[in-house]
Amino acid sequence: MLIFTEQCLNGLQFGLLLFLLAAGLTLIFGIMDLVNLAHGSLYMMGAYFAASLSALTGSLLLGAALALAATLLVGIAIEVVVMRRLYGRDHLDHLLATFGLILFFNELVRLLWGPAALSVPLPDWLNRPIEILPGFFYSAYRLSIIVVSLATALLLYLLVMRTRIGMLIRAGATNREMLGALGVNVRLLFTFVFGVGAALAGLAGVMQAPTLTAFTGMGENILILAFVVIVIGGIGSIRGALMASLFIGLADTLGRAYLPDVLAHMLGPAAAATVVPALSSMLVYLLMAMVLLLRPRGLFPAAGQ
Amino acid sequence: MAEPLLQIQGLSKRFGGVVAAADVTFAVMPGEMHAVIGPNGAGKTTLIAQLAGELLPDSGAIRFAGADITRWPAWRRSRAGIARSFQITSLFPEFTALDNVALAVQATVGHSFRFWRDARAESALRAPARAALARVGLAHRADAVVARLSHGEHRQIELAIALAGRPRLLLLDEPMAGLGPEESARMVMLLEELKREYTLVLIEHDMDAVFTLADRISVLVDGRLIATGTPDVIRADPDVRRAYLGEDDAEGLSDG
């Protein structure tokens, strides 16, 4: 039972991390109709910046904060130089251009930081178990990820639902053209939204860096999952992104933890051994395919989409 | 009494709280030009969409030449002989006018799982296409790329595409939309000619044209059919006058 709780917490943590990426992705897609493959690269930059800057400053927290700022700057630079010219164009153009950005950033990182993965050591106060329930210990580090992610989700909610900018964002998600017609500085809004997305991606990268290390190509793996999340959740819908990321986070974690045993029971150990590795990885895609076929616009599509 | 070619029975469609069609019933006789008119928002577009197969009605039935086509997809209705033109021009902009119409012909001449022979060399496709273009007066623009043609010429191609497959029934959705007075007059003449060979359902806002051309008129208001009859009957109908004179953008019904 305790192990199950631990797995659920792991799933929650993974799901929240996915949410950070998916929220930015779905905002950018929903508001600017932009398919951004380079989102994973921003996640990667966050991790690399965190590794360097925390080593430089000697403090994980300071390094993390600086890394976040740096990633935000990189994101804004990308928006101004490349993304601006892509608005209104075919999605395929977006895919191609941002694919080019992926190649660029993967190589840039190799150039600046070398091909070896960078590790980010955890300070003692994070690198220990915390007793959250009597007798139940959970990693302080993972706990902090959950807390930070939830706090960020709350901030995002407040931003989108309770501020004027948030209102513009919500309006833009349902009717892009109207925004311009209403005299809103759409350009600035787009840059802002992209910046928010970049910061979220960077934050996810910063927080993941200690576990996964920072390595080239780390963005691509998680990017696909983030896309699966927003497709399942409904493009343009942050609520959908939250629901779907938690769902996928839990499904993936629990699936990997328990599916092998379940399948071994059902199919016998030999058959299960061949099927299991593939199925655990494929589970997420199978879920997406099913959702898309039943609800082509996702589970919680943004109104007006 | 001849059998109606198109029979619409109790057609109803809601979108959330909006009633786009409420129990619409009327029939179109073979060879007639049947106009459907009504103020903006009356549900004319929804009606055409349901007739064409782009929208499925919530309830009701549509019969064409005796067959129940209510749930048939658009492509199947087209092959059965119902051709449709669009109110907002919907063509293949990067192809030539001839290619546009030839595609429409291709849909009705045999199947298209032919992988080798050059379709542009098939006279079975090109000849009827040229004929359709000539019919609408665009023979001289056959090889022009559609994107470079004028709006009026686009409307002509819309019609040519509808004619290309030798249909039994033409559903024309505001063929004169956006046309200037000269082009409108030409379109009216063309429709007069087509009247003699085809059965037509015409949706139009131009009242002069409607009353000149139509054999019978059905009037839709707020999704409901409030009157069906010959132009004289419609002109005199008190409900119709109220519906139009009660609206701000009333296009006056000519007297007498």
Binding site: R85 | A74, S90, Q106
Partner: protein, 316 residues
């Protein structure tokens, strides 16, 4: 997308084909094995790109899972070879058949969606193929599968002869390009191109577009499966990495670089991309840092690719 007819009068096309035909002869004289090997690989990937051009360039169906067929074709050969079946007469039809089947299933589901959702489902199918291949513990799993013997055809066809294999690949590539050219101008091709231009209108005039698109998808899958067969024979190795979604991205790059909607475009794109890669990696090991922005520039400013640029020159 305007179709430019495959007119061999086009100087570049003719020059390119002549070059490809004469290359092995030059390599024979110069003793340059490397160049021959490089261009064999280019030809194989060009065939894969040609199949992608069919669905993407002409059919308007951008698939981010197309590399899966390379893997499927390759693994069919590899697995059969591992089981002792080395006859090409068995391996190749099986490979193409399985690819076609996978294309049928994936396409049947994916083609119910549009736009970005379509791209995502094709991506998902590609990844699923990747994961299945990774889990084939008996056939190398993640490390991949070595193929000891190339497909055997007995009699005159010896695939281990470099020049012979090159010419086989070239023949199949030119055959594929010509097939695409004929397909695109046939009735079938017009349905595809019309569906790409204005699907709503196509359905309205009487075309059940879904079945045509699916057929196209299957043809493309089969053709790419054949490319996978060649790839496996060429490298004498096949691994799941060949199917990772970024490899599908590479194929898309080739098609766009060469010019979508041009029958020879993918060949030009494959040549351009892979030669560029070779040249750049000679300059710096960080060549992708140049390729990335180059790709962005092509998308922003030369969207029609090489074929588009040529056309601009032609029109003067």
């Amino acid at each position: 997308m305007k179709l430019r007819p495959l007119s061999l009068g086009n100087a570049v096309a003719a020059a390119l084909i002549a070059f490809l035909l004469l290359l092995p002869i030059y390599c024979g004289f110069a003793g340059d094995v490397f160049l021959l090997t490089l261009f064999t690989r280019i030809l194989i990937l060009a065939l894969a790109a040609t199949s992608l051009n069919l669905i993407m360039g002409f059919g308007g169906m951008p698939s981010f899972g197309h590399a899966a067929f390379l893997g499927i074709g390759g693994y069919a050969v590899g697995i059969l070879a591992a089981e002792g079946i080395v006859s090409g007469f068995v391996q190749w039809p099986v490979a193409v058949g399985v690819s076609a089947l996978f294309a049928f299933v994936a396409g049947a589901l994916a083609l119910r969606t549009r736009g970005v959702h379509f791209i995502m489902i094709t991506l998902a199918f590609g990844q699923m193929a990747y994961y299945v291949a990774s889990s084939l513990a008996g056939y190398g799993g993640d490390d991949g599968l070595t193929i000891d013997r190339r497909s055997q055809f007995g009699g005159g066809l010896d695939l281990s002869n470099r020049a012979g294999f090159y010419y086989l690949c070239l023949a199949l590539l030119l055959g594929g390009v010509y097939l695409v050219h004929r397909l695109v101008n046939s009735r079938f091709g017009w349905v595809l191109r019309g569906a790409r231009s204005n699907e709503r209108r196509m359905r309205s005039i009487g075309f059940p577009t879904y079945r045509y698109r699916l057929t196209c998808f299957v043809i493309a899958g089969a053709m790419c499966g054949l490319a996978g067969v060649l790839l496996a024979n060429f490298s004498e190795f096949i691994s799941p990495a060949a199917m990772y979604w970024t490899r599908s991205g590479d194929l898309i790059v080739m098609v766009v670089l060469g010019g979508m909607g041009s029958a020879l475009g993918p060949v030009m794109g494959a040549v351009a991309l892979l030669v560029l890669e070779e040249m750049l990696s000679g300059v710096t090991e960080h060549w992708q840092i140049i390729l990335g922005p180059l790709l962005v520039a092509v998308v922003l400013y030369a969207r029609g690719g090489i074929a588009g640029i040529l056309e601009t020159f032609e029109r003067g």
